[in-house]
Amino acid sequence: MDNETTIGTIMNQHQDTNKGSRYITEVIIERFKAAFKPGPIPLKPFNVIIGRNGSGKSTLIEALQWLDTTIRRDAREACDRYYGLHDLINLRSRTVVPYFQLTLRWSEEEMSPPVGYRVKVEEGENGSPFIAEEELVTLQESGRTEHTYVSTESKGKRVVSPPEDMGLEIPFKEPDMLSLALAAIFHDSSSSPIDFLQSFWSSAVFLRLSPSRLALGSPATRKSFEPLLDEEGQNLPALLSELTQDQREELVNNIQGIMPDIENVEVSKAEQGRDTRVHYSLLERMPFRGRGGRSQFPIPAWMLSEGTRRIIAILALLSHAPPPSLLCIEEIENGLDPWTIISVLKHLQSAADRGTQVVLTTHSPWLLDHVELDTILHVRRAEGDTKYEQFSSRPEIQGFFPSIPPGTRYVSEG
């Protein structure tokens, strides 16, 4: 397939820009995990993905996370969770050299051209990932390339084009690394799409929160290449340490909307030789028997309910400045009561209004009833492939009376 055409075809059908902020408007996944060739997946500032178990809901998020990890570290590490690249490539792939390909498109701020990015990853010698092609361009309204920042000269050999006044192109041949990091050295202008992509990926967050990890404590500070919060949430105490006084107050205010008796969030340090570990506690106001009046009592993380730990993690992320650029959360409803689901959902919708792109997966019809129909993506397995469709565009879903809420439509016709 012609590379330019590939990016060029993901044109701006989804221009409901989020108050000038930038977000991924379209993703094309090819031969990655459950998805063989599902076609372009439209994304909005706020997205909820639904589908049966095993349908491929996570495939989209994992594709984005693969890119995130490869940019932060390298492709080998991004493939580690799958025990290498081999199983990551869709089973239907029958090419001589097995590969997968990811193509993304971002809308830009007003008057700026959209950004297109494509990476093709082949199975190299010994089954290791080999970045065969990479392309970063800005696009015209017509879908044609406006400016090329990264291109592929020959298999594996990529070229970073510096700004016009800097002369020579820079070759890049690291087989398991993306050229974005190198490109950023030459494009340090804040208006450059490379600078934007660097910033976008550095503050992207992917969560599959683990209640046990959320209670373990963490080093006092996160490493520079680590996300604001790691996938399982173990670095939550470090994130809480990073919050300023104002951000901490906002966090407490938001927690109180769900748990009115919580008065504060405390982070405590435990010195262990050269390693300083931090833990967090919630201060809860409760009746104190014996001396009259009320008092605050610290409740350490390991004594909090699993749902409470999840709530603190999500709200802490949203209180951080700058906030996540992209926040993907798997099965957001886990451990949350029905009222808390709605509260957390409102905070996430609010974050999307302010510029954080949110992608959630859920099995909860209750949650679906509290989002707009056109924010829902439906994932289904059909004829051995995963299909992503806008829920509201399916004829079966359009057949309901308009006042029927999304959760009911899903359960009745899913």
């Binding site: 009222w339 905070h347 609010s350 009833d369 989002v371 006042s403 029927i404 809420p405 999304p406 009911t408």
Partner: protein, 281 residues
């Protein structure tokens, strides 16, 4: 004679059972609208969503999540009062948004939904007969009109009566009739960045909460130094919708120029028609 106890089943945020203090929804309806319009007080205020009404229609599939049909909810509240030996409510006001949050694009009709409400209440399998009979009478009156606006009489405040208040397109339309009034209410002297330019006072605007109030609140939140109302209401139109609604409505009623236009809006006019304490009702 005992004063009739009136319950309000109104579109609003579902609050967790343990939340502290009087919810903003109660303050909007009893303290602000109730006192400003001199309405009969509501003995209880029950948040509902349109799902409660949709669930009454047997043509529709069973609702997902937890929403029971409105008649089940009403019957349950009556039964709880009986078991707790409390006075049950005698009259129910049902106030819902015509346009649901989940799908603003549908062809919704206030008249059809109002008639359907009484149609399904009249055949309820759970409501006591007095409620079903009143609903049946009201349904006959509505269906007997040669056109929807040809009203013969107002529904009486009688035991077992359900009074329908369909808010078109939604409650927040009441707040966004006059851009200048909202600016005064929010104490904004100049137009802040991001302030919505369109939709004010436009009755065709189907989502005044998301398309007007939400960007308006976001715009004033960016003003430095922070406005008093922003310091006080710590959240936006997503997370503190009822609180902002209450704040703006109180300020509009306190502004003589804005007050007149609020009183002319169909929602307060309808509430006064149905529930005014004055003798000329």
């Amino acid at each position: 004679m005992r004063q009739l106890r009136i319950a309000l089943f109104v579109e609003g945020s579902i609050s967790p059972p343990q939340s502290r203090g009087d919810p903003a929804l109660n303050r909007i309806w009893n303290e602000v609208l109730g006192s400003e319009l001199n309405l009969h007080p509501f003995c209880s205020i029950v948040p509902i969503s349109k799902k409660h009404l949709v669930a009454m229609d047997p043509r529709n599939p069973p609702m997902s999540g937890s929403q029971e049909p409105l008649d089940y909810l009403m019957a349950r509240k009556l039964e709880i009062a009986r078991r707790l030996k409390q006075d049950p409510f005698d009259v129910a006001v049902v106030a819902w948004d015509l346009v649901p949050a989940w799908n603003p694009e549908g062809p919704y009709c206030r008249w059809t939904e109002t008639v359907d409400l009484y149609r399904f209440l009249a055949v309820s399998q759970v409501l006591p007969d007095i409620w079903k009979n009143q609903a049946r009478r009201r349904l006959q009156e509505l269906e007997g009109r040669h056109q929807p606006s040809a009203r013969m009489s107002l529904p009486p405040l009688k035991q077992g009566m359900v009074l329908a208040v369909c808010m078109e397109p939604m409650f927040e339309a009441l707040l966004v009739q006059d851009e200048g009034a909202v600016k005064r209410a929010l104490q904004v002297s100049e137009t802040p960045r991001g302030w919505p330019r369109q939709g004010w006072g436009d009755c065709r605007e189907r989502h005044p909460d998301r398309r007007i109030l939400m960007p308006a609140i976001a715009a004033i939140q960016s003003i430095k130094p922070r406005l008093r109302c922003v310091k006080h209401i710590r959240g936006d139109m997503r997370t503190k919708k009822d609180e902002w609604g209450e704040y703006i409505l109180r300020r509009l009623f306190g502004d003589p120029k804005a007050r007149a236009s609020v009183l002319q809006h169909p929602l307060p006019a309808r509430l006064v028609e149905l529930l005014s304490r004055s003798e000329d009702r």
